[in-house]
Point group: C3
């Protein structure tokens, strides 16, 4: 049987239910939906990086990256990012921040789907990722 | 070529279009979006387990599990669950039901993304799953 | 390390950000969210196939297929399609078009999840796909 291991970055807020921030099984590393929570100390409630799309997008990408790195992966391994926004008016700004984040990416950029959904109050963006490893 | 096989649990309502409740190809088992439909007899229209989030969440998780089991898998193989709710006010109750469902899970819990979307009238929750097998 | 390669069909509109229309890594081919854009010439802004669900669904499925084919895959390799609609009233018509599209599919149909979200103005449907190859 292929072992399944949870990936839990240091400083990530404890999930609000029994799920893992990341899971590795076989060649697949799945990153759970990340939002703009700042690194937290054990027992502290999570705090959002800020009210703006910019602050939350930067922090959300950092949080996805932290899960990837804790799982021994990098952006180069990611095949898909799912971006959830709450407002179609945010698309252009998110894309600019996204492109800045990936400006130094060496390999092919991941695929992506962006859709507009509801998120918990105060959250403007959520991102999850699928990575394929060796 | 890696063979692809459909996974069709006994009692699952016939899909409303040409898709499979589950598909296995290579090391991947993908479970289609499941909702709170009760097991049905051939030819009967699907009936929802009940109007409440509790009834639908319990039934939806049972339906995902039925696809996993029909595909020779279990929750231990699942790396990702996507939970679609219609109302942010349902998050806490869904999480409580979710945690109860997974209380006896031995291995690492799957990753998860929860977003708030529209669903067909009367449905409050939909869940799909990605599993990795040997 | 497993190589990652971008899949870029001829005539596909340049993505609005640094992402790939398709990515192949290991046994996984991920198709990014496709919409009803007509094939375009380099430098031209993308144009939607038409305002109707029918026009956009047919074109969106063609666009997914183009990515699959550019990646050396076919519908037979697809394990999951995610269909994003904007209106629950579109479900029946989309299903009819979907079934017509897949009428000649030889193997097991992919799994599918359909949810109702917001999309950019003028777009009625978006579809992404996960394929498993040898």
């Amino acid at each position: 049987m292929t072992a399944k291991t949870a990936v839990t970055p240091t400083g990530h807020a404890t999930p609000p239910a029994k799920f893992s921030h990341g899971v590795r099984k076989g060649n697949i590393l799945q990153v759970a939906g990340q939002v703009g929570f700042l690194p937290t100390k054990d027992g502290q409630p999570p705090a959002v990086a800020g009210p703006t799309l910019r602050e939350q997008t930067v922090q959300t990408l950092a949080n996805v990256q932290a899960v990837l790195e804790a799982g021994g992966a990098s952006w180069e391994d990611v095949v898909m990012l799912r971006v959830y926004l709450t407002d179609t008016e945010h698309f252009a700004e998110m894309n600019a921040l996204y492109d800045a984040h990936f400006a130094s990416l060496q390999g092919s950029p991941p695929a992506r789907t962006t859709v507009y959904v509801g998120l918990p109050k105060g959250l403007l963006i959520e991102i999850d990722a699928l990575a394929v490893l060796d």
